[in-house]
Symmetry: C2
């Protein structure tokens, strides 16, 4: 019996779901072996086959997506979410193009990370190898299904996906199409599987598949990530939340500061590397705040400001009094918390209290201030005089990106192909024994 066969959730007990998900993970583990030692040529052929198959199945994918959209509209889904869910012929083409870009990236597998010959003649080398089976739990957007599968395949891994229920029909067709494309190049379709048919319990079973799933990457809101961290026994890489700060120092170039704040807040608002809180040194507040306020108001940004900021823009519209909650909030919208600080130490202390460890930025012309800020602020990415929007695998030249890790273990910051691998030590002797 194919454990992947569509099963309505309600027909199965939690235990049956767990057994079927474990069986899927077991099949993934076996399939992963065929890819672990595959050449780059084989993996790239698989990616190109998948890209071609998605284009060929474009109409079918769009028809399935229409069912998801209809369900979304019926249940009152917001226009923004419907837009993220929607697939058009153009979007399918761009998803396929992304797979071709992954094929063009170098293969991380086989890279020698360290190596040496020991005094006793033993040759030692530490080499990149695939993780094995990667689990992904994510929310609505169906393009993530293809992105995750592409990155996992390129790095030699099998992937087990649990997508958002809102994209159920779209994802079902996409996973089938990718499976067919893998078989076309004589690879097992079990390299890309989904547990979407098992609903929420399927996701939980995936989190508990220790020994079969090597790493789990949750990608979504804070609630999803908390659930995974609490419940998972599989090692997890936390991604995402960005309560991002920019600190405008006493020695800032205020023209740079203005351009960077506008870019970091408004170039795209619904993303984790957009700025959410602005800290302004008291020495430059009078010169900077009115300009900043005018520029952001023009772009429809609402400020949540402390008293000192509000005193500098008397009677300003679009300005609310900041509360404790504002310092903690990742708005992901046209909103920005702002406060005045008297010293760089106060700025760093504020960031320590509220940072999610994603990206933190200082605007300054002072070498001493930039050195202090970069040394003392603890985050995945610390910037000097650049927009926080640069925290991105593509921008960093890492190629495609699976997410941005905000944890310290294994991967920190943008995660590319290398972060989906582990290493293996090879010890080559000639009859060596330990004295």
């Amino acid at each position: 019996m194919n454990a992947n066969a569509a099963a309505s959730e309600t027909d199965l007990t939690a235990n049956e779901i767990e057994q079927q998900v474990l069986e899927i993970a077991r099949q993934a583990k076996i399939a992963a072996r065929s890819l672990a030692t595959a050449t780059r040529a084989t993996k790239d052929a698989a990616l190109l086959s998948c890209a071609d198959a998605l284009i060929a199945a474009s109409d079918e994918i769009i028809a399935a997506n229409e069912l998801d959209l209809q369900r979304g509209r019926d249940s009152g889904m917001s226009a923004g979410l419907l837009d993220r869910l929607e697939l058009t012929a153009e979007r399918v083409a761009s998803i396929a193009a992304a797979l071709r870009e992954v094929a063009a990236l170098p293969d991380p597998v086989g890279e020698i990370v360290r190596g040496s010959t020991l005094a006793n003649g033993i040759r030692l080398r530490q080499q990149r190898v695939p993780m094995g089976v990667v689990g992904m739990i994510y929310e609505a957007r169906p393009n993530v299904t293809v992105d995750a599968a592409g990155l996992a395949l390129k790095s030699g891994n099998a992937v087990v996906l649990r997508g958002g229920s809102a994209a159920l029909e779209s994802n079902r067709v996409i996973v089938r199409v990718l499976g067919d494309a893998l078989e076309q190049v004589k690879l097992p379709r079990e390299l890309v599987q989904s547990v979407d048919d098992y609903g929420r319990e399927g996701g939980v079973a995936l989190m508990r598949a220790r020994g079969l799933v090597d790493v789990l990457v949750p990608r979504g809101g804070a609630g999803l990530i908390r659930t995974v961290v609490e419940q998972s026994t599989v090692p997890t890489i936390e991604t995402g939340t960005g309560n991002v700060h920019i600190y405008v120092d006493a020695d800032a170039d205020l023209d740079h500061a203005l351009e960077i704040v506008i870019n970091a807040k408004t170039q795209r608002v619904g993303v984790c590397n957009a700025v959410e809180t602005l800290l302004v040194h008291a020495d430059v507040a009078e010169a900077f705040v009115p300009r900043m306020y005018a520029a952001l108001t023009e772009r429809n940004v609402t400020l949540h400001a402390d008293d000192r900021i509000r005193n500098l823009i008397p009677g300003g519209a679009n300005v609310a009094a900041a509360t404790e909650t504002d310092w903690e909030t990742e708005y992901l919208d046209y909103e920005l918390a702002v406060r005045v600080v008297d010293t760089i130490d106060e700025a760093i202390e504020h960031i320590r209290s509220y940072s999610s460890g994603h990206t933190e930025c200082i605007i300054t012309e002072s070498l001493a201030a930039s050195e202090q800020f970069t040394a003392e602020v603890d985050a995945a990415v610390v910037m000097v005089n650049a927009s926080t929007r640069f925290t991105d695998g593509g921008m960093f030249g890492l190629g495609a990106e699976l997410g941005i890790s905000t944890q310290k273990l294994h991967a920190r910051g943008p995660m590319g192909l290398a972060e989906l691998t582990t290493t293996k030590w090879l010890v080559l002797g000639d009859g060596h024994v330990r004295p």
Copy 2:
């Protein structure tokens, strides 16, 4: 109130214990900042101060240890465990010497892992920084207390320790002595703290101190590690279990094979890199097995052998019939499971089924066999023609070792100082904004 003050477990509720352990972790996090940007000279001075203080307090430590030993003897602790628990003046001196060796190792913090200048002129660098707060949960041996503290300090981290209750008195004195030594060099004593006074519940609270403890390393038996993996919300690095195999191939040099098997089994038996199962290719079984049997019997090793092995040593003493359990067992003793395989594929399949992912070894003169084995076997360390006893941070030239990771995330194989660090991306711009 000092949250570290000795409190009898029974006086406190689980909730009070949790609050006090969280307060200890919070103090550790603050203390860690003072070390995160410290120079190597400061950290080395701290290590040397700790080494001197341990020597100076040797009598006091030994007196406390005598209380632990007495309790151990009263409760019927085995001679082996009592030996691991015991501290003598010589052992204290060797623990202090190990700290001096850690001081002599290069500082991992500040190393640039990757770096480049992007097309737009942004300078990008990924730099090693300390984790922050390292948690250690371990069993009886009091030397681990000092080893863990030394490695954590050298890599710029604070450490929170939960040692085995059997070493409670020894560890209490050691932690106090280390704290005094840190204050001598003007560092906060909260860099090295213990939660031993809170018993088992203290350990659980440490596992749940997410956001305060950055990584937790359990070091001990399978039961301890399973508990930590199940209960911890702090990211964990699993160490230790070694169900280690040696496969003697059809093309093996049998003299090498014999020496390596003897070394890997008997050079030291109670360690995770000792061999536990031997697989012998049918083509060389007749020539190899009687020699192997004679050599191991002479060294008091009992075999658990399949029928084909037993047919080659008729009437042999010290040979039991192997059962399924034997293939799964990490004996850590003078015992070895042995079976005949007909092909290298059968050997690899056996290893796949029973390996704990620690160290796996092939003895062969065949290039093809060595290539197949190293490519297809999935373990932290894969060896060709060398004793499995070489899986060791010291042997690998990594310096001291915190443990041997058998997981794939973050660290795999011997964990040295670099594995106690994470990285931070630094992005240096000149007013750059994202187009």
